[in-house]
Every structure is written in C-alpha cells, then in structure tokens.
C-alpha cells in the first residue's frame, strides 16, 4: 500500500495556507443564506419526539416536523399556531383543532391528518411505550378524529400545563402514523420514515453532524436558509474555536465565558444572554448514613454560602435561586426560608447530631468544569464546619446510574450537585421530587405525602393564585426537609454572527431553527 508521507515542510506549508485562507476570508461569509451552521453540545442520537434526549435534538425536530402549535420566539413565553388553522379549548377537558390541509409527508405517505395527530399523542401517553415524556400527556384520555383534518383532544381531567409545556413543545410534534407503525417497537432514532416540516434530512453523520435541506414539498413560505447544519461539538472550548474559525455560526457558550466575551467579542458577533429556567442545587440523600439525621442536612444548608459558589464556579454571572422554579413562572418563591450561611448554628446542629468534629463524605458531580468548581467551593465551605467532602467526578450517565441504583448503590453518593432542565411550567420541576420518582430522578429520596398531593392538585388547579401558592408550599417543604440547597437557574449565552438573526426560546435554551433569519 502506498502512502504519501507528510513532511514537516508540507505540514507547515499547508498550515500557513489554511491560516492565510482563514485570515483572507471575509468575516460573515459563513452565514450566507445558503447554510446556517449551529453547534450542538451533544451528539444527535434521537429524532423521535417521544424519546428526545437533548435540546439540540429538539431544535432539529422542530425544523423537520410540525406540531399543532409551537413556541413563540422572544423574551416572554407564549405559543402560536403551527399546523393548526384553528385550535381552541372548548371546555377544561376538550380542545378542538382543525389542521391546515395540504401538508404532505415526505416519502409518499400522503398528507398530515388528524389520524397522525391521534397516533402521535396517544403513542406518548401510552404507558406501555415508556416515553420519558408520558407525563406531558398524563391526563390525555384520547384524541377523537372528527374529520380527515379535524379532531378533539379529550382529557381525563383539566391539565393546566397543556398550553405551556405540552402543546408548544416536542410532545405535540406530529409523526407519520403510516411510517412509524411499520417500525420495530413503533419508535425510531435518526430515521423518522417521513417528515413534514419546512426542512428535511439530507445527511446524518453519527457523532459529527446532521444536515437539513429545504423540503421541496413544504406548502408554506420558502425557509430562508438553503441548508441547516447541526454540528456536534461537545467541548465548549472547541466550540468557541470552531466559531472563531468560521465552522459554526451560532453556539451556546459557558457562563464562565460571558465576562470575557462581554469584554471582547469576536469580530461581527453578538452575544445573547437570557436568564435560564434550568435549576442547579446541592442535594443530600436522606435515607442512609449520617444524612439520615435531619440536623446534619440542616447544618449543611447553613454551612453553604451560595454567593461564593456562584462567584467561584460561574464567575458571578447568574443570580442565586430561591427554589426550583425560575422568576417569571407561576410558583416562583421570592426568597429562601434560610436567609444565608450561619456557621455557628451549623456547628451547633452537627454537635447535637453527634458530629462535633464533622465527618467525611463525598459530593458526586458530573465531570465538567462548572460542576467540579461548584463542588470544590461547597467542599471548602463545608470544611469550615469540619465536614470533609471529597469531590467525585462521574460521567453523567454513571451518576444517574448510581443515584437510581435499585441495589443500594445510591448510598455511595451521599451528596450531589445536579442541574435539571426545565420547561416553562412549574409542574415540570416539581414532578421529579415526588415519592414515585424515588429510585429514578428523586436522588434525595425526598418523600412527602403533602408534596405529592399538592403536585397532583396543582396540575388541575385553574386558579393561578391558588396554583402559585401550592408550588411555593412545595418548595418550602423541600427546603424544610434539609435535603436541598438551591443554587441558581443559570444563564444561557449564545454567541452568534451579526449576519444571522437568531430565534431563541425566552430562556435561550432552544434554537427555533425554522425561525432563524439572515440579518
């Protein structure tokens, strides 16, 4: 086999050529109307709305599928009609919709019909299908098909989050019944069989990128970009370098990059920052070892200085949080029950619990800079009251596996720093801390009958003031248990070329790719 050997001179020559080409290239060229290239911070693995894994996948789904309604880009949460020409809630349990006629499926599967809507929503709601999003349609009784393009969504009981987090998000995207029914297990990963959005899939390269192109069958206005490419770059530093090298036009950047970028932006770029909805907290499991004693957990709550965590781990960019529900949403608490750190009180509680000199423990975190830094600042704070906490980094999958280990592996991870993603309805946050989630996502193993009841009631409570009070009470219960120290909701920062007008969800977490425009 002959192989051309690259000499050092060739290498330097080629490198100089690339550098010159990069330098000579007019900035902004990357973002013509031919292609929009966005960076994804995870690999694209699933395009099935019922089994979505990460936000970048949802962004792609939004471009290749339609839903009855869709989220409105901008600063405040709202929805607008998508495939529905009309949609209205006729009573608390009936939503009548009429589909726009003439939206064809790719691959010759006919038009998007009410049957497809019925299939898509009932597929997620059916517990046998084990969709992680079944909660979105938990109150769905059935979808009644009243005509080829008309139907009624019938709920078992009123479901308030329907209009904020179910209908405008991935759970309302419509998949092709005829195509998906033929698939093994009626689910798919990267080949949907048929799509119906303004863009269609051109090419998927596993662990690299996905390329979309204009869907020639799309009956609506021609989308502005000929192609959209999602490029998977998992490392944040590499993403910034790729942005500067002109390989992507839009990328999320870490919070810790914000002060530097605000000081000096790359040429022809803009930085969009939006307060996040996600919630970070320090959690303590409450069933085993020293943390089974509530006084120990309360001592930790009093020993942790949230301000110094935000300063150390996030460079002071985001504000401190007062719970799991972000400002602007129903149920947001004005303040925490615990006003601030109180080391004397913490030491007193530890002494009462039989640990006057503290104890040794572990903080399990995801192995990424922000989590590791946060945990190290927490450990330094806990050292002041004698608690020696070692930071144990895990892959995110391994951390979940340990925390939800049925054989008791969770006892190993006494404390954890976690961030959960969030949708603009408080029920999305509170659902993970119900007793039923113990062994799944309720890593603190927090169990409160009052909390569980309130969570169920709040889903159907139409009175906003009452609903608000319920969620405030639920967060009070969490804090009173001693197992939670709420840290922040974070900030989502997006670095974008001036030649592109981005369309983001109000929290900056999702890119509404269909709505991106050339500037």
């Amino acid at each position: 086999m002959t192989q051309r050997r690259l000499s050092r001179r060739d290498f330097l020559g080629a490198g100089a050529g690339v550098l010159a080409a990069t330098a000579l290239r007019p900035s902004g060229e990357a973002a013509d109307t031919k292609a929009l290239r966005v960076r994804a911070y995870v690999n694209y693995e699933v395009l099935d709305p019922a089994y979505l894994l990460g936000a970048p996948e949802a962004d792609i789904m939004g471009a290749i599928f339609v839903g009855l309604v869709t989220v409105k880009p901008g600063d405040t949460w709202g929805w607008e009609k998508d495939a529905a020409v009309s949609i209205e809630q006729v009573d608390p349990t009936h939503i009548k919709f009429q589909l726009r006629p003439g939206i064809p499926w790719t691959g010759g599967f006919g038009e998007v019909t009410a049957e497809d809507v019925k299939f898509s929503y009932e597929r997620i709601a059916n517990p046998a299908n084990k969709s992680p999003y079944k909660g979105d349609w938990a109150k769905l009784d059935r979808v009644e098909v009243t005509g080829s393009h008309a139907g009624i969504i019938v709920l078992k009981e009123p479901f308030i989050p329907l209009w904020s987090t179910t209908l405008p998000r991935n759970s309302s995207l419509i998949v092709c019944k005829k195509a998906v029914e033929k698939m093994d297990g009626q689910r798919f990963t990267m080949d949907p069989g048929a799509t119906c959005g303004p863009y269609r899939i051109k090419k998927w390269e596993p662990r690299l990128s996905i390329t979309l192109e204009r869907n020639p069958l799309w009956p609506g206005p021609k989308p502005p970009f000929e192609e959209i490419q999602g490029v998977a770059i998992l490392d944040a530093n590499a993403a910034e370098i790729a942005y500067e090298a002109g390989q992507v036009d839009v990328t999320h950047v870490p919070m810790t990059s914000v002060p530097r970028l605000q000081g000096k932006l790359p040429a022809n770029s803009a930085l969009v920052t939006r307060p996040g909805l996600t919630y970070w907290w320090l959690g303590m499991q409450m069933e085993s070892g020293v943390f089974a004693d509530q006084r120990v957990r309360k001592a930790v709550q009093l020993a942790v200085d949230v301000k110094s965590i935000l300063e150390g781990a996030f460079f002071g960019v985001p504000a401190a949080s007062t719970g799991i529900i972000a400002p602007g949403l129903i149920g947001h608490r004005e303040k925490n029950l615990i006003a601030g750190p109180n080391l004397e009180q913490a030491k007193k509680l530890l002494a009462e619990a039989g640990h006057p000199r503290g104890f040794k423990t572990e903080i399990g975190v995801r192995s990424s800079a922000e989590f590791l830094s946060a945990a190290q600042v927490i450990a330094a704070g806990l050292a002041k009251v004698g608690i020696q906490a070692e930071v144990v980094p895990y892959d995110s999958g391994a951390q979940k596996a340990i925390a939800s280990d049925k054989a008791g592996g969770w006892k190993k991870m006494q404390m954890h720093v976690v961030r959960f993603s969030m949708q603009p309805d408080p029920s999305w946050a509170t659902v993970w801390f119900t007793s039923g989630q113990i062994g799944e996502w309720n890593w603190e193993r927090f169990s409160s009958k009052e909390y569980d009841t309130l969570h169920e009631q709040a889903l159907t409570e139409a009175d906003t003031a009452k609903r608000h009070a319920m969620y405030v009470r639920m967060q009070n219960l969490m804090e009173e248990s001693g197992s939670y120290v709420f840290l922040t909701h974070g900030v989502n920062a997006v670095l974008c070329r001036n030649t592109v007008k981005p369309a983001l969800t109000p929290d900056g977490n999702n890119m509404l790719l269909r709505r991106f425009q050339p500037a």
Binding site: T256, Q376, V377, E390, P393
Partner: protein, 299 residues
C-alpha cells in the same frame, strides 16, 4: 545467544564489585553533562515536593474566587487558577502526589515483577509457561483502555491509579528479570551453589537477585516519568486524583478549560511535567550508559 548470556556477566562488573568502587559510577555520572543535568532536575523536583510546605506557606486548596485567573506576581509566582488558588503552591503539592504515586507504584511493580520474573526464569517449565501467559495476557491490553475499564469498575482515586500502574508494569519487569535469570541459571557458580545443596530461596536471593537488579533498576528509573504522566493523564481525563487534591493533570485540565482567558494555569501544569520527564529520562539514560558496558562499548 552468546551476547545475551554475556551481558549479565559483564554488567556484574560494577554492581557486585563491593570493594570500595561505588564512588566511581557516581563520579562518572557527574562527569556526563546530560547525567548531571538530569540529576539536577530530579533533585529539584524531589526537593520541591518534599519541601512544599517550606517553599510556600499557602494552602493548596484555599479558595479566593475574587483573585481568579491572575497572572504571575510576587504574591502568586505562577498566578492563580479559576477558583483563586495559588498555582505555585498547587504545583509543589502536586509534585508530592505525582512522585508519591510513581515511587510507590514503580516500587511495588518492581518488587512483584522481580519475584515473579525470577520464579519464572528459575522455576519449573510449567510455572514459566503459566507466568508468561499471565504476563502476555496483561500486556496485550492497551494500557489506557485497561485503565479506563478499571476506573469504571473501582471509581477514580489515588489507589486505583497505583493499582493500574502496578498491574501493567509487573509483566514488563517480570519479563526482563525472567530472561536474565534464565541466562544465569546455567552459570557455573549457580550450578556449584546448587551442588552444595543451596535451596531455592538462597540461590534466588543471594545469587540471582544481585545480578539481575541493576538493569531493572535503570528500567524503573526511566519508568518514573511514564507513571507521572499516566497519573497526570488520568487526572486530566477526570478519572484520576479527586479534586480539590492538587495534581498536575488536574491543574492542566482546569487550565485547558480557561485557556481562552489565561495561558498561565496550562503553563503551570505543563512545566513540572516537562521538568520531571526530562530529569528522570536523562538520569536514566546516563545510568544505563554507566551500568551497561555492553551498550557503552557499542556506543
């Protein structure tokens, strides 16, 4: 085979010549500029690790986020990291971890490798085959893949790193010692000793060990920087030493995260790795030149 058999015999000349000639190799080491340089670097690294508390009074884990990512100054010789910790102090204390891990694990691997290698070389054929099979089985795994698998099973910690290094290094020492022992076992002085009724332990410890230990010691000294980089590499990947314990690999990783803000943490993490690697490699090569006359004659 004649040269292979001659090598240990030649190399006996210096190590077992106990009659006051020990100063000569050291003198030769000092006369070799590369050896002197290597020895100097090794002394520097060891002294800075041992005297970390004297050289810097600061706490390597004390945080001060207000002083994050500072450039070097009189107060912070190497600057500060993203949590405002003094990088100079962390580098010094990181040296303790790096040298501690490498000396302990190389020492353990060497002892076990010596024992098993001598048994394989001197013992019955079936034992030799069995041990060789074990050595080759372990060596057939790529080190990093094996390391990642072990870390996944046992969780990241200092002990895990030591275990990985020991497990992967034993076969290397074992094989070298086995070959040398096999060459020695046919020598007249061994046969004479056996004819006089000496037991296995006496033959191995009194006669074989002193003759095989020289080359493996040199091998071990050259392995020290390899182990230092394994520790740093695993810590860099987040599967080694646990934060906030100072480790050169962790300093490098933190530095990499913030490399677009400041280059100093990366330099602070990389500099001691370079110094240690150069120091031990030069020293090892120089020692090999002195203690391995075969090689010296060829040179």
């Amino acid at each position: 085979m004649a040269t292979a058999a001659a090598a240990p015999a030649d190399s006996l000349a210096i190590p077992i010549d106990r009659a006051g000639r020990r100063a000569r190799p050291l003198g030769r080491l000092w006369r070799d500029p590369l050896g002197r340089f290597g020895l100097g670097l090794v002394v520097l690294v060891v002294a800075s690790a041992v005297g970390a508390d004297l050289l810097s009074p600061l706490d390597p884990t004390a945080l001060d986020p207000r002083l994050r990512l500072q450039a070097p100054s009189a107060a912070h010789l190497f600057g500060t990291d993203h949590l405002g910790r003094d990088l100079f102090t962390r580098v010094l204390h990181g040296g303790r971890i790096a040298l501690g891990v490498s000396l302990i694990s190389v020492g353990l691997a060497l002892s076990i490798g010596l024992g098993l290698g001598m048994l394989a070389g001197y013992g019955p054929r079936w034992l030799d085959s069995l041990l060789l099979l074990a050595f080759d089985a372990v060596r057939s795994f790529p080190t990093i893949m094996l390391a990642l698998a072990i870390v996944t099973l046992l969780g990241p910690s200092l002990h895990t790193i030591v275990l990985i290094v020991v497990v992967t290094s034993i076969p290397v020492y074992g094989r070298v010692v086995r070959t040398q022992t096999q060459a020695l076992r046919g020598y007249d002085f061994i046969l004479a000793e056996r004819a006089l009724g000496a037991g296995l332990a006496r033959v191995l410890l009194k006669h074989v060990l002193p003759n095989v230990i020289g080359p493996v010691l040199i091998l071990a000294s050259m392995d020290v920087p390899v182990v230092v980089t394994i520790e740093a590499g695993l810590s860099f990947l987040g599967v080694g030493v646990r934060p906030p314990t100072p480790s050169w690999g962790l300093i490098l990783n933190d530095g990499y995260t913030f490399i677009r803000d400041t280059p100093w943490p990366v330099l602070a993490g990389g500099f001691p790795l370079i110094v240690t690697t150069l120091g031990f490699t030069f020293l090892g090569e120089s020692l090999r030149d002195i203690f391995d006359p075969q090689l010296r004659r060829e040179a």
